[in-house]
């Protein structure tokens, strides 16, 4: 049905230092820099990919994690198609804060049906040996908080990063299809923004 490229906006949220920028950079540029600057403000990168025959441009938004910068990042939540809740497996506090991040996102993104919105949870820094959060704990949280898919990632050695983003895309597309079934369709999908000609890809 669609040869058109859809633009999907996903946003990475989580405490400062859990590796949001590193995950994004690993995925988009396939590079890792352990000493990458912490993010000030908001940034985004684009990545083209194909998932189950759908051409998609992912627009990945990365934000500053510190509480103080909430006022800067929250206006950018609107229009997100998917939210990647990120913590670091070697930082229990960042795991405990997942719920707050989810709440903040739902509130400011003005999500109409939070229970249906696609969240994906990422437990990053799998490469670090001193874990503070077990996979079981994390899975349990995901199950209890809306049955979110959970991926343990390592931006450093590229484990599960692409898989997680692809899952995010699948979740969004599945949402769309469900919506499409409700409308008898010869119609063009209007709710999905066509990719803009002037989009600058990285």
């Amino acid at each position: 049905m669609s040869n058109k490229t859809s633009l999907l906006k996903v946003i990475l949220l989580g405490d400062g230092g859990v590796g949001k920028s590193s995950i994004m950079n690993r995925y988009v540029t396939n590079k890792f820099d352990a000493h990458l600057f912490h993010t000030i403000g908001v940034e985004f990168l684009n990545k083209d990919l194909e998932v189950d025959g759908h051409q998609v441009t992912l627009q990945i938004w990365d934000t500053a994690g510190q509480e103080r910068f909430r006022s800067l990042r929250t206006p950018f939540y609107r229009g997100s198609d998917c939210c990647l809740l990120t913590f670091s497996v070697d930082d229990n506090q960042s795991f405990l804060n997942l719920g707050n991040w989810k709440k903040e996102f739902i509130y400011y993104a003005d999500v109409k049906e939070p229970e249906k919105f696609p969240f994906v949870v990422l437990g990053n820094k799998l490469d670090v040996s001193e874990r503070q959060v077990s996979a079981e704990e994390a899975r349990q949280w995901c199950q209890e908080n809306g049955d979110h898919p959970y991926y343990e990632t390592s931006a450093k050695d590229a484990t599960n990063v692409a898989v997680a983003f692809e899952e995010a895309v699948r979740r969004v597309l599945a949402m769309d299809e469900r919506a499409d079934h409700l409308i008898p369709t010869d119609t063009v999908k209007l709710h999905r923004k066509p990719r803009s000609a002037t989009t600058c890809c990285s």
Binding site: F37, Q66, R68, T74, R78
Partner: protein, 673 residues
């Protein structure tokens, strides 16, 4: 009826009674006009219209928007303070502003004249039909009142227009006030008025984001800056981005579906409207001018950095610096050689007083060293047990540890594992938490500290220099980020003066609030230039020359260079943000400094600058003859010393280069009124 043109009706309610005077005490049946109220989306605007029931409306008394939907009208109420005139129709006058697109592009500053005596007094309350149609962008606030009619309490709403006038009060005898407010929320932003619980401030969403110079006017009622301006580009697209459509609990119990904790909503508003809480003193009343022609931009060149010899030559036997103003000007013009930085930065940042002797500085350092280690000991001696009970300290510490490991790590000084520079950064930031526990550590502060540690190579000196730097930057990092809001507004004001067409373009792309400059402002361009360029840029800015807030002119200089690309390639909101983010490390510091100074020279020579611009840059109020471009003598002999220095540190010796620039270009400055 002319004004009842086609358009999408968003809201319609019959059986609304309009009462001409805001005064509820003499509500008599006769004064009430029954009619229907509508909110209509028309062309590029959203209008609120009231149409009386009676058919026989005298067309001569119809006040409505002209065919050009961007025209607005104003009702000006006169004598509303005088009890004797109670119950009379307000003086009405109509003001139509032609906001043609091309005019906006030329972005002239239009005088929003207060019309007095220009309108005709309508024939009193025997005049039954009173139609009004007003653009939502003209609404300033709505107040809930208990209207009293036939001794029944009915809700009444009074809409205040921008300026001091208001619409006839609307009485909802058959209900519907809640529905009206609900509908308004769909197309505009309503927010609580701090001073008056029953009052809601109205602003149209996109206008909230696009700060218009023109309407940054003082509203004494609220102490708020109304910088909201109609934006035809965006409204034409019909996209009212519903950034904040939340209403407060002013109308208690009636807005269930929109209720949110007020402080959260306040935060959201504060975030999205950078200037909402801005200190009124930032934007005093405007001197409105029709147009400021800035004339040509003078070329300037920069000089060689101040050498060690030159620096030493400025010290007397006691180590007291001499000819300070001249020295500062040299630093402004060329920066410092690296060898001088360690000493000179202490003066530039204010750690050492400029007029201190060597002995005085030695004793200062002794006491500051004691003070530093006293504070350092405080966090060093916190036991694990204590830390467990101190979540704030724990959070600061955890974030400092994370950020120190990701600050300038590609710089030789900080690279490698267990680099001693990292320990310095960590300890100084932790000690700063003890120095200012309320602020603690906020991301970005490690960026500000890193060059200072690099230059000082001494923990105590670096700490106190950092403290001085933070005094300038403190507001940026505070809870409400007031410094950021203020700077974004100020930058917008300057940009509006320099390049109104670019401003309009940015507004059309929802980028008029300049959030893409956030990183520049938060950490003074630290991430935009290479490490060594930042040393140069900061020492130049720390001279305080040539004017206050020179860094904002540097922002203008960068934007000036990027403007053509952004506009030609028709960048939208996302692309602008991305483009600006990606300028990082691609900018040339000398070029930007040069351009920034040129812009300052250009502005400083102008007459008829808006007061806001004069305040932001702390320009001297100029004697008439100096700026009178028709006076040849003024052009020939400008007071150069004052040209670079602010009044309090004017230097006696003028800079030859500046003199040449001034005489060459001053005569070219032309003004239109």
């Amino acid at each position: 009826m002319a004004a009842e043109s086609s358009g999408k009706v968003v809201f319609e309610l019959e059986g609304v009674f309009a009462h001409p005077s805001g005064d509820e005490e003499d509500t008599e049946e006769d004064f009430l006009v029954c009619g229907s109220l509508r909110i209509v989306e028309k062309d590029a605007d959203i209008m609120m219209e009231f149409t009386p029931l009676e058919d026989s409306v005298d067309p001569s008394h119809i006040l409505c928007a002209a065919k050009d939907s961007s025209s607005v009208m104003e009702w000006v109420q006169c004598g509303n303070q005088r009890p004797g005139e109670r119950g009379q129709w307000p003086l009405e006058s109509q003001q139509s502003y032609e906001t043609e697109w091309d005019l906006i592009n030329a972005a002239s500053f239009k005088k929003k004249a207060c019309v007095a005596g220009q309108g005709s007094v309508a024939g009193g309350h025997e005049q039954s039909g009173r139609f009004f149609s007003v653009s939502l962008s003209q609404l300033a606030a709505v107040t809930l009142r208990d209207g009293c009619c036939r001794h029944r309490k009915t809700p009444a709403l009074v809409f205040a227009l921008k300026g001091s006038s208001s619409l006839p009060s609307l009485h909802f005898h058959q209900g519907g006030s809640k529905e009206l407010l609900d509908s308004l929320m769909g197309v505009a932003t309503l927010s609580k008025c701090a001073e008056d619980e029953s009052r809601l401030l109205i602003s149209s969403p996109n206008k909230v984001l696009s700060q218009s110079f023109e309407n940054l006017e003082d509203d004494n009622n609220f102490g708020l800056v109304h910088k909201l301006r109609k934006d035809p580009y965006v409204t034409t697209l019909g996209r009212f981005s519903k950034v904040t459509n939340y209403i407060f609990d002013a109308f208690k119990g009636t807005e269930e579906q929109h209720q949110r904790p007020p402080e959260e909503v306040a935060n959201l508003l504060g975030e999205i409207i950078p200037g909402l809480e801005i200190n009124q003193q930032e934007e005093p009343g405007f001197e409105v001018v029709t147009r400021v022609d800035l004339g040509t931009r003078p070329q300037v060149s920069r000089s060689a950095p101040v050498s060690a010899d030159m620096w030493n030559g400025h010290q007397d036997q006691d180590g007291r610096l001499m000819h300070i103003a001249r020295l500062q000007e040299s630093i402004f013009r060329g920066g410092l050689c690296h060898a001088v930085r360690k000493e000179a930065w202490k003066f530039l940042l204010g750690y050492f007083p400029w007029n201190s002797t060597l002995d005085e500085r030695k004793s200062l350092r002794r006491s500051k060293t004691d003070e530093y280690f006293r504070m350092k000991l405080q966090w060093k001696s916190v036991s694990e047990e204590q830390e467990r009970r101190n979540s704030r300290l724990r959070d600061y510490k955890s974030l400092i540890e994370k950020d120190v490991n990701r600050t300038d790590r590609s710089n030789q000084f900080y690279e490698g594992i267990d680099n001693p520079g990292l320990v310095l950064l960590h300890d100084i930031l932790m000690t700063y938490c003890m120095y200012d526990f309320d602020l603690g550590y906020v991301q970005g502060m490690s960026d500000l500290l890193s060059p200072i540690v690099f230059v000082m190579e001494n923990e105590v000196d670096a700490f106190w220099c950092f403290v001085c730097f933070m005094e300038h930057m403190h507001q940026n990092f505070e809870e409400q980020m007031q410094g950021m809001k203020t700077q974004l507004i100020q930058l917008s004001t300057l940009l509006r003066l320099l390049d109104p067409s670019f401003c309009s373009y940015l507004e059309s792309q929802d980028s008029g609030y300049l959030y893409f400059c956030f990183r520049w402002l938060l950490i003074r361009f630290k991430r935009e230039f290479s490490f060594h360029n930042i040393l140069r840029l900061w020492e130049v800015m720390w001279t305080g020359l040539p004017c206050q807030n020179f860094h904002l002119l540097l922002c203008c200089a960068i934007l000036d260079s990027e403007k053509s690309k952004i506009m030609e390639e028709k960048f939208g909101f996302n692309e602008i943000l991305k483009h600006v983010n990606e300028l990082s490390m691609k900018l040339d510091v000398e070029e930007i400094l040069q351009k920034g100074e040129s812009i300052w020279l250009q502005i400083n020579k102008c007459q008829g600058l808006p007061q806001s611009v004069i305040n932001i840059l702390a320009l001297e109020s100029k004697p008439r003859d100096r700026c009178d471009s028709s006076t040849e003598s003024a052009a020939a002999a400008p007071p150069v010393a004052g040209a670079l220095h602010r009044g309090d540190r004017a230097c006696a010796n003028s800079n030859g280069h500046l003199r040449a620039m001034d005489s060459q270009h001053l005569s070219k400055v032309a003004f239109m009124s």
